[in-house]
Subunit: 132 residues, 2 copies
DNA sequence: TTTTTACTTTATAATTATTATAATATAAGA
DNA sequence: TCTTATATTATAATAATTATAAAGTAAAAA
């Protein structure tokens, strides 16, 4: 809710545009998609700024990186634990807010210290179903 | 168990080396790691051959691509459905053979046709725990 | 308010993973 | 053995991301 001092970042117009693009965005955009949106408002926007800002936001815990799409990173401003429903065809990602009680029994933990888990559901989205 | 005619591929020494490198391999190697292993036996081995062969094996359903590690693909010769335990520090991937009964209720499916699911457990592996 | 300073943006180059191309080589069937 | 479709290789091309360094600017200090 409220941001601690350590979480504050210098608010430049570019950063504000990137943050606004992400705010409430459930499309899990790639860096290129974010660049494409913000560069409309700021034509001088550089790709490096998008990457720099995303890295800063990640360090501050305001965005999460998803390694779901092969080749490119996708970003999620929803940092609360949740799961995903992924279209295997168009790679659309939809949030799943339901909680799952998944506990690995001692024997399956291989001495790992377990931090958390994440479920990916795979399927075909309504849009792709329509296209036969 | 037995390979159908359609699944047969021309067996070259390079392909055999790559297949043998993958056979029973539970380390979920990257293309570079596979190249590094097979190029010891075949010094003329090309990176393109590793990628070509991996693509062929994937098309034949003999290997699975994992988009877990940011930046690079990792490959899993175990194509039976299973889950993973991932070290957030060194990106070691350990198989989890336990089954989870995960069914999304109608309301959460967003009209997707659901094909399957996969669970990633995150944690710190014993090796990384030791290094403080 | 002006000055200072540390941080940010930008253009550009570099890096890394992967895919494409085309000439040469070869496994496997006739 | 001969033939041919397919595989391998060197090499170039592409795509995503990271690094560098000069120039700009938000915010703190004076
Ligand atoms: Mn999400
Ligand atoms: Mn596995
Ligand atoms: Zn789709
Ligand atoms: Zn580890």
């Amino acid at each position: 809710m409220d941001t601690k001092k350590k979480d504050s970042i210098k608010l430049t117009p570019q950063r504000i545009a990137i943050i606004e693009c992400l705010e409430g965005n459930t499309s899990h955009p790639s860096a290129a998609e974010i660049y494409s949106v913000v560069s409309e408002k700021y034509p001088t926007m550089s790709f490096a700024t998008v990457y720099n800002t995303l890295q800063t936001l990640r360090e501050k815990g305001r965005v999460i990186e998803l390694s779901i799409d092969s080749g490119k990173m996708r970003f999620d401003p929803n940092t609360k634990p949740h799961h995903h429903l992924i279209c295997v065809q168009c790679k659309n990602i939809t949030d799943v807010h339901r909680k799952f009680a998944l506990n690995l029994p001692e024997g399956e933990r291989c001495d790992y210290e377990i931090i958390g888990n994440h479920v990916d559901f795979y399927g075909i989205c309504p849009g792709c179903k329509k296209k036969k």
